[in-house]
Amino acid sequence: MENTNKKRIGKLLSELSMPILLVALIIFFSIMSSNFLTAYNLTNILVQNVHVAVCSTAVMIIMISGGCDLSIGYQMSVAAVLVCKLLSTTQIPVALAVILAIVICSALGCFNGIMALKLKSHTMIVTLGTMAIFQGISYLISESKTYHNMPKAFMFIGQGKLFGAVPLNVIIMIIVVVAAGFVMSKTSIGRKVYAAGDNPEAGRLAGLNVSRIKVLSFTVAGVLVGISAVLLASRAGSADSSTGTGIEFTGITACVLSGVALKGGEGTLWKVIVAVFVLGVLSNGMQLINLGTYPQYIAKGVIMLVSLYLSNRNAEA
């Protein structure tokens, strides 16, 4: 009896490891810095991580389908640079620019999925290749320039507030995340994505079109990456070819921390989102307590290893 109780507590701890870590970090930084627990700072953390959360959702979908996409950062870069260049040099309507960003990223995602399928290679290697291609495209578009002077309507997406208080981009994030969470956990499509990643051969023999599901996952993830690119560029008000790059690693980190299986088939969106904010609070807090850049790297790495240890230990218990 005692044993099963212990097991249950262990399971609960591993289930809630991310929220617990988040609360612990918030308490820690609140004590360490008087500037941390203020409405201004908390809003800041939220607003700064909106695009990371949307992007991590994309990373999670791809990982659940059994893939891994290293090119996401440069997908964002291509979309952000193109949209900002068009907005600052032509009279293109804002709505059209936003749709363009989303369409481009979903096309790039779809391209990744099809390439992985045709080349019969692991998606991580394929996207290592496409990453270089997208990087080249991004610099060709940007001509190594930064594009400013965005129209007001575009800036409103990233900086505007509804009812004078609620940031619009946070609302967009909530809508996107809730929709993605619903599709993944409550629909037959989501179910198929989990199945394709968990055991592709069993999926195929159970009558699922596994290849199509995987390409679809990449494409849908591309849509999210496009949204993420718009959120980032509109908040910054500018874009160059480094916009968004490296974000795939933050996304993969958040996914792995929250227990998304590298081999596919496992993962829960709300945990990923909490993990994104764990990372967000961590870097914000460390800046507030004036930890140097290099110690910050070390602290991040240590926290990641410790939480991996905790979640694995509890999963085994």
Binding site: K186, T187, S188, I189, R191, K192, Y194, A195, D198, N199, E201, A202, G203, R204, L205, A206, G207, L208, N209, G265, E266
Partner: protein, 489 residues
């Protein structure tokens, strides 16, 4: 003379078990799945530590063994799922644990020695062959050769014949005899009771973690062993089945594809049609063509009189074919997912309103099949990996039935399933046939084929070599067809 004694008072997995193994004997360990056989051998090889008890090896007492300690003592194990370096050569694998004289490896000499070793085992493979290119039987030989290099005194073999052909089995039996003559103790674990009578000296039976008995092989019979294993008498392994009288469900004519050629047969409603053959004869490949998992290249496949062209398993399912694949873990189910999740996966469109899953329908479906197939579990949200082999197989069957097929393909329906649970699978298959479904059964278990099928089709190297009706059933005949010979009249 050596005695290995082990005790585990108070622990369920293995409760106070003491067995002694003598030098130079072949000692079988039998019991149903979960009886504690694996736990027992793992504590001998040092893979786990017993909670209490001692291991006595050549007169010396050990509270437990570390894996490298066990290796040094000369205990070697050939596991059911072989742990080998797949991308390395035979020679590399054999000498992996050998301490070399210097940093440099003398490849030429190692290959020569490996070849000599293999010759002892009647095996003329090139030592440079990569492990992944070998058959399972040959991989086992490599493991045995490895044990010889290490001068093993005890060799543990876990279900060595589960995945190899009849001819290969004979070879393996010879090797076991050879080991025995060299004074090696062989601990032999098997679900196939018949073979114990061919090669073993004594048998120890475990049941629910308890030691039941050790008997000399001459003093016992198969039925007695089964009775000890399950703790009761089994009336008959193969249940009675009504003969079929139904219409033709499926007709293959000159069917070719996926490595099989010119296969013709008819399957009737209510019939169980067996497929015999050696591993690699193309039985599974043929089933994949019938299911749509592989392409048909020539000939015709008619279901209920209609010509079929399957591009994917999905087409096969739509036409009413269901497959219970041979490899449960990798093809049959999603082992880390819940029972209800598995059952629902082939029937997602029926279980959802639009694209939104209807969890009430999903629960009802899982509950229905839990009752119908008598799946033993307290909770349908339980992961499949936590179930016994028999219940896992029932989940796979439920998953196929959920798509409502007319034709069911059972590929090795009872592989790795213990005696008691096998009977239940057989009863289930008969029930399905009596409900009017047609069943194609691929099996490497001769008794199962003879006991369950109405007719048997024999394949050899992708070609159909024989067809037998119930009155013609004869093990020898089937074997000679399977080996590509024409049986004597």
């Amino acid at each position: 003379m050596r005695n290995i004694t082990k005790e585990y008072p108070g622990v369920k997995a293995l409760n106070d078990v003491s067995i002694s193994f003598e030098k130079g004997e072949v000692h079988a360990l039998v019991g149903e799945n979960g009886a504690g056989k694996s736990t027992f051998i793992k504590s001998i090889t040092g893979a786990i530590r017993p909670t209490s008890g001692t291991i006595v090896f050549e007169g010396k007492e050990y509270p437990h063994l570390e894996p490298n300690q066990a290796i040094e003592l000369g205990i070697a194990a050939v596991y059911q799922e072989l742990v080998q370096f797949e991308a390395m050569s035979i020679a590399d694998n054999i000498f992996m644990s050998e301490k070399s004289a210097g940093v440099m490896l003398n490849d030429k000499e190692r290959c020569k020695r490996a070849a000599e070793l293999l010759k002892i085992f009647d095996c003329d493979l090139d030592p440079r062959t990569l492990i992944r290119d070998l058959s399972i039987a040959n991989r086992q030989i490599i493991e045995l050769a490895k044990a010889t290099v290490k001068k093993a005194k005890v060799v543990i073999m876990d279900e060595p014949t589960a995945a190899i052909t009849v001819a290969e089995q004979e070879k393996l039996y010879k090797l076991v005899h050879k080991l025995k003559e060299d004074g090696v103790t062989v601990i032999y674990i098997s679900h196939r009771l018949e073979e114990l009578f061919e090669i073993c000296d004594r048998v120890s039976i475990l049941r629910d973690g308890q030691y039941v008995k050790t008997v000399g092989i001459e003093e016992t019979s198969k039925n007695e062993l089964i009775a000890y294993m399950v703790g009761r008498e089994l009336t008959s392994t193969y249940p009675e089945k009504k003969p079929c009288t139904g219409e033709v469900l499926l007709e293959a004519e000159d069917l070719s594809g996926n490595g099989v050629e010119h296969i013709s047969f008819k399957l009737h409603r209510g019939e169980i049609l067996g497929f015999a053959g050696l591993v690699g004869a193309g039985r599974t490949e043929l089933m994949h063509v019938i299911y749509g998992a592989a392409k048909k290249t020539a000939g015709s496949l008619r279901i209920r009189g209609e010509e079929q062209r399957f591009a994917s398993p999905n087409d096969g399912m739509k036409a009413g074919v269901g497959l219970i694949p041979e490899d449960r873990k990798f093809q049959g189910c999603f082992i880390d997912k819940a029972i209800d999740w598995n059952i629902a996966i082939s029937d997602l469109s029926e279980l959802s309103d639009g694209i939104v899953m209807n969890s009430r329908k999903e629960d009802a479906l899982a509950e229905e099949y839990k009752k119908k197939l008598r799946i033993k579990t307290p909770n349908l949200k339980q992961k499949v990996s936590g179930l016994s082999g028999g219940n896992q197989q029932k989940v796979v069957i439920a998953k196929s039935l959920a798509a409502n097929p007319d034709i069911l393909i059972f590929d090795e329906p009872t592989r790795g399933i213990d005696v008691g649970a096998r009977h239940e699978i057989y009863v289930l298959m008969n029930e399905l046939a009596e409900q009017g479904k047609g069943i194609l059964m691929v099996s490497s278990d001769m008794e199962e084929l003879l006991g369950m099928s109405e007719r048997i089709i024999v394949l050899h190297e992708g070609k159909q070599t024989g067809e037998l009706t119930r009155s013609e059933f004869d093990q020898k005949k089937i074997l000679s067809y399977a080996s590509g010979l024409t049986p004597e009249a």
